[in-house]
C-alpha cells in the first residue's frame, strides 16, 4: 500500500511541485496519473521510489516511512519498485539479455537464478527470440518491452511507468498496455503517469488527476478528462 499525507515538495530553485497531496493506493491497483505538464506528476512518481524527498508530509510504502528513511536503505526500497521511462534507458552496447541481466547482477543475484529469471521475463514480454539483439536493432515498442522486462525482473511489488507510451505509435501502445495489464494481474501495483487519452479512455482504470500540485480528481473507473 502506498499512502501519502499532506505531501509538499518545493525544489531548491523555488518551484513548488506538490502542494499538500493526499492519496492512498492499495496493493494490486492499476492507477493512471494524469494532468497537464508541470502539474507534479513526475514529482509524485519520483517521491515513491525516493528519487526525491518530500519537503513536508509523510509517505509510507507498506511499513516503510520514506520521509524518515536513511540514505542507505534506499537500495532496499528500490529493489521492490520497478521503473519504466518514456525513453527506455537501455544500455546501447549490451544485448537485450544482458540489459535485463545487468539489473539482477548489480543487486548481486546468483548467476544461475539470473539466467532462468531473465529468460522468464523475456518470455513474459514476448521477446525471448530477440535476446541476442542490441537495442538499436529493435523497434520502439520492443525496446520498451525490454525496459519493462528489466523493471519486473526482480519481482517488484510496485511498477512505476512514467509516460511508457510517450514515444510509441498507437498500435504499439496497446501492446505495452496489454503487457502492463498482465503484470497487474499477478498482483503488482501499477502507477502509470500518462498523457495518452486513447489509452486512459479505453482501458478504464482508476484515474488520479493532478493539477498545481494537488489531486483535483480521483475516480475509480475514470476517463482522461482533458482535451489536450
Amino acid at each position: 500500500m502506498i499512502e501519502m499525507q499532506g505531501v509538499y515538495k518545493t525544489y531548491p530553485n523555488g518551484v513548488t511541485a506538490l502542494n499538500g497531496l493526499d492519496v492512498r493506493i492499495q496493493q494490486g491497483e492499476f492507477v493512471y496519473v494524469v494532468g497537464p505538464s508541470g502539474a507534479g506528476k513526475s514529482t509524485f512518481t519520483k517521491l515513491i521510489f525516493r528519487e526525491e524527498k518530500p519537503s513536508k508530509g509523510s509517505i509510507h510504502i507498506n511499513d516503510l516511512d520514506l520521509a524518515a528513511m536513511k540514505e542507505r536503505r534506499i537500495p532496499k526500497l528500490r529493489r521492490n519498485i520497478g521503473v519504466v521511462y518514456q525513453d527506455f534507458r537501455l544500455l546501447p552496447r549490451l544485448t537485450v539479455y544482458e540489459n535485463v541481466a545487468f539489473a539482477l547482477e548489480v543487486i548481486e543475484q546468483r548467476p544461475a537464478e539470473i539466467k532462468t529469471r531473465v529468460m522468464d521475463v523475456l518470455e513474459q514480454v514476448r521477446l525471448k527470440n530477440k535476446a541476442r539483439f542490441i537495442p538499436d536493432e529493435l523497434s520502439g515498442g520492443e525496446q520498451q518491452r525490454v525496459s519493462i522486462a528489466r523493471a519486473i525482473a526482480n519481482r517488484p511489488r510496485i511498477l512505476i511507468a512514467d509516460e511508457p507510451t510517450g514515444n510509441l505509435d498507437p498500435e504499439t501502445s496497446w501492446e505495452i498496455m496489454h503487457i502492463l495489464e498482465e503484470i497487474n494481474q499477478t498482483g503488482t501495483t501499477i502507477l502509470m503517469a500518462t498523457h495518452n487519452r486513447e489509452v486512459v479512455n479505453r482501458v478504464r482504470k482508476r484515474v488520479i488527476a493532478i493539477e498545481d500540485g494537488v489531486i483535483v480528481r480521483d475516480e475509480r473507473r475514470g476517463d482522461y478528462g482533458y482535451e489536450d
Binding site: F49, E51, N62, L64, E71, R72, I74, P75, K76, L77, R78, R79, N80, V83, R89, L91, F102, A103, E105, V106, I107, E108, P111, R150, N154
Partner: protein, 305 residues
Amino acid sequence: MSVGGITAMKIRTIGRHLREGRKSVFRNGWMTVSAIGATTTTLLLVGVFLAVMLNLNQFANSIENDIEVRVFIERTADESQVEQLGEDIEAINEVASVEYSSKDEELEGLVDSLGDEGKAFELFDQTNPLNDVFVIDPSSPSAADSIASDVRELKFVDEVDYGEEVVQRIFTFNEYARTIGLVLIIGLVFTAIFLISNTVRITIVARRKEIGIMKLVGATNAFIRWPFFIEGMLLGLLGSIIPIAAVTGGYYYLYYHLRDSINFDFVQLLPFNPFIWQLSGLILAIGVFIGIWGSVMSVRKFLKV
C-alpha cells in the same frame, strides 16, 4: 522485503569489481598514461628522498648516540684535585657516567685511530703534549650542551669539547633537507591525486547511464563505488612499479658496488636487505594511497542520491 544479502560482498562480486576496474584502466588510454606517469614521477622522487632521508637520520642518530663530553684537565692539577673534579662532574645532573682517561691512554687512542699515519705521533711518547681527560657520557644527547657549560664553571678545567659545531651542522642540514623534501613531495602527491581523480572521473562520466540504471534498480552505493576504487588503486599500483625497481636497483648499486670505491668509513648505509623491502613497501603504500584518494575524490560527488 528481505535485505539479507545486501551488505556482505560475495566472491563473484569482487571478481566483477576487479574486472570492471581493470577495464577502465585500459579504456581511458592517454589519461591513464598521464595519471600513471605523474604517480611514477612522484613516487620516484619520494623513493629517492626517503632513501636519503632515512640514511641521514640513521647517521644523525648514530652521531647523537656517540656524543661524549670531553673534559681536558689542567696539567697543573694534582691527583687529589683531579679526584675532586671527577666527583664534582658526577654530581652534575644528566651525567650518566664519567670515565678517566690519562694522557698516555689518550695518545695510544690517537695513534690507534690514525693507523699507519699515527705512527708519527709515537715520537711524543716521552713528552706527551696531551691532557688527562674525563670522558662524560650524557644521559641524553641534548644534555651535552648544558653539561659542557656546567663543567666549564669548575676548577682545573682546561677545555670542554663535544664536537658541537659538527653536530649542529649535521642537524641543520638534516632539517633543511627534510623540509624541502617534504614540501616537494606533498606538492607532487597532490598533483598525482588530482590526475588520478580526473582519470577516474572520465570513467564515471562515460558510465553515467549505467550508474543511473544501477541506482534505479537498487544497487548499493558501495557496489557502484568499488570498480572506481579499484581503478584508482590499480593506477597507483602501476605507478609504483618503476619507482620500486629504480630505487631497488640504485640502492643495490650504491650499497654493493659504489661503497667499495668511495671511502664511506664514517657513514654507515642502512643494510640493503631489510631496508629495501621497507622502502618498497612504503612506496607501494603511498602509491595505493594516492590512487584510492584520487578515486574517492571523484566518486563522492557522483553518488549523491
